[in-house]
């Protein structure tokens, strides 16, 4: 048996488990189901024509409905990124990894994505990347259907195409 501690106990560590049920919402549900078919859906603002991905039901800029769903390319550019060297409890991502803002071709806001098949020191702003999808039959309509993004090998996008668009 363990001995009582010499010092008064001031802290105990106690882990809690909080299960939540999330509701995706109409647009997000369509977006996720489309991932199973290797499609990335966005929505287009009825006033400005700007495209949001994942799709939003209204524009945070014009406040107008964004009721047209559009299919986007699974290619884009890295607008900015960081190289993560620090672990997070409960995550099983190998370190270091490149966490990037990726502006998909045709989209007006970026998504957050992991870039692999690229050494961390080779990652750069303006790099062209493409989605690497899970094989057919393994996609379930979940964000994990895109395993990661990887460089396409195309020339980098010019500075003016990303410097004011993160």
């Amino acid at each position: 048996m363990s001995q009582p501690p010499d010092e008064p106990v001031k802290y105990i560590e106690s882990k809690i488990h909080l299960p939540y049920d999330y509701v995706a919402g109409d647009y997000r549900a369509l977006y996720m189901r489309a991932l199973a078919d290797k499609k990335i859906l966005g929505s287009r603002c009825s006033v400005t024509g700007k495209v949001f991905v994942p799709p939003l039901m209204s524009s945070p800029e014009s406040f107008a409905p964004a009721d047209e769903l559009v299919e986007l390319s699974d290619r884009g550019i890295v607008t900015t990124f960081c190289v993560v060297n620090i672990p997070v409890i409960g995550r099983e991502v190998e370190l270091p990894y490149v966490a990037a803002s990726v502006a998909l071709d045709g989209a007006d806001i970026s998504i957050f994505a992991m870039v692999q098949e690229c050494k961390a020191e080779d990652a750069r702003m303006g790099m062209r990347v493409e989605a690497v999808w899970k094989p057919d039959g393994e996609r379930t309509g979940d964000h994990t259907d895109i395993s990661y993004f990887r460089p396409t090998g195309e020339p980098d996008a010019p500075r003016e195409s990303y410097i004011n668009r993160l």
Binding site: T80, C82, D108
Partner: protein, 383 residues
């Protein structure tokens, strides 16, 4: 403002990685008692309480303002909780100002706290939601890409971030309440491990336990106090959506619009020369250069040049974060109110060893969320 409002008392705890000597209630009470003592008041003099802290998952206690009501002396008084992520300490104090300016209350206690040792902020700020890849690793993981974009946009040299830290640590040596009171050299910073490239370990704020409280009073009550108050010339909170096409994440519009409103209403036309000191929210080194620009202290792209010249150092033209700031002390929810409380002490002439000589007008600032919430005030030694 409908009528003049002043800070008549400021109290803060000593900050450290783990305040094992007190509970959360004990921690907030320590700050409240010091603020009341400073103002020469007791709980009976307080009409209402406004409290702020960062999101509840940081300590895992839901709506802690309810169980803290006793420790806050809020029994049978109006008690309001403010939520604006990292900027909360500042927007909480500004909410207390509104309470008094409205004419509804004469003296309001405002307080902000965080006891990071009772939870895991790195986990709490690394959302693993079901619909998006869980890639954000803490606040640093979120903001490092913004810092990279700033460096790319402004062509800032790599030493600016580390240089900012060396200066902040020197400043904290003059602040007896600061958490990290140990100087570092430029080499130590640049050789510390890279956590979220381009942000290194020593370019990152610590995790702190701490609290700060202020007493906000009407002109009539402020003039009855034992000491010279800090007059609140202007204070506003602004917000913007995180995912807006074309949003400038490096110099967000909400920050620019907020400070313009504050300057316009406080009669500031030349902030670089009219402001004597500023406490601004710098949790990661590069944000000092970024906010110098966003706050209009210099032209866009010139923030790093101010730091390179050292014009923002203690004893120079515009001392920034003479307390050492968030880079040296970060009880998250309290960090914003510490900025506002520190500048109140500066214009009262009671900041101690880190007092800026002849300080009459000072700016306090905080930001939060995805660099989308801003809260700023200007205080003055003159009504």
């Amino acid at each position: 403002m409908k009528r003049p409002v002043a800070v008549v008392g400021v109290g803060q705890t000593h900050h450290s990685a783990r305040r094992a000597d007190v509970s959360i209630a004990g921690l907030v009470r320590e700050a409240v008692d010091r603020a009341l003592l400073d103002a020469g008041l007791t709980h009976e003099d307080i009409d209402a309480v406004v409290i702020g802290k960062a999101p509840d998952q940081l300590e895992g206690v839901m709506q802690p303002e309810q169980f803290l009501a006793g420790a806050l002396g809020a029994h049978m008084k109006p008690l309001l909780r403010v939520h604006t992520a990292g900027s909360v300490g500042a927007s909480t104090a500004i909410t207390a100002v509104t309470h008094v300016a409205s004419g509804l209350y004469e003296r309001v206690l405002t307080i902000a706290f965080e006891k990071q040792s009772e939870g895991n902020a790195m986990w709490a700020l690394s959302p693993s939601l079901p619909f998006t890849p869980p890639l954000v690793a803490g606040a640093g993981g979120f903001f490092a890409p913004y810092c990279r974009a700033y460096i790319a946009k402004s062509d800032a040299p790599a030493h600016i971030g580390p240089m900012t830290v060396v200066n902040a640590r020197e400043n904290a040596m003059r602040n007896e309440y600061a958490h990290l009171r140990e100087t570092v050299t430029l080499e130590e910073v640049t050789e510390s491990i890279m956590l979220w490239e381009p942000i290194r370990y020593l370019e990152t704020c610590p995790s702190s336990d701490g609290a700060v409280a202020m007493i906000i009073a009407s002109e009539e009550q402020a003039k009855k106090g034992p000491r010279r108050p800090a007059w609140v010339k202007s204070g506003y909170s602004y917000a913007e959506a995180m995912w807006v096409p074309g949003r400038d994440q490096v110099s967000p519009r909400a920050g620019r619009d907020c400070v313009k409103h504050v300057y316009d209403t406080a009669g500031i036309t030349d902030p670089w020369n009219q402001i004597d000191t500023a406490e601004i929210y710098v949790p990661f080194s590069w944000f000092e250069a970024m906010w110098l620009e966003n706050l209009g202290f210099c032209a866009e792209g010139d923030g790093w040049k101010v730091i390179d010249r050292g014009d923002q150092r203690f004893g120079r033209h515009l001392p920034i974060n003479p307390s050492g700031g968030v880079l040296c002390t970060n009880p998250i929810g309290a960090s914003g109110m510490l900025r506002l409380g520190e500048v109140a002490l500066q214009v009262m002439g009671r900041a101690g060893e880190h007092q800026v000589d002849g300080c009459k007008t000072a700016l306090g600032h905080a930001y939060g969320g995805g660099a989308q919430y801003f809260a700023i005030w200007i205080v003055s030694s003159e009504l």
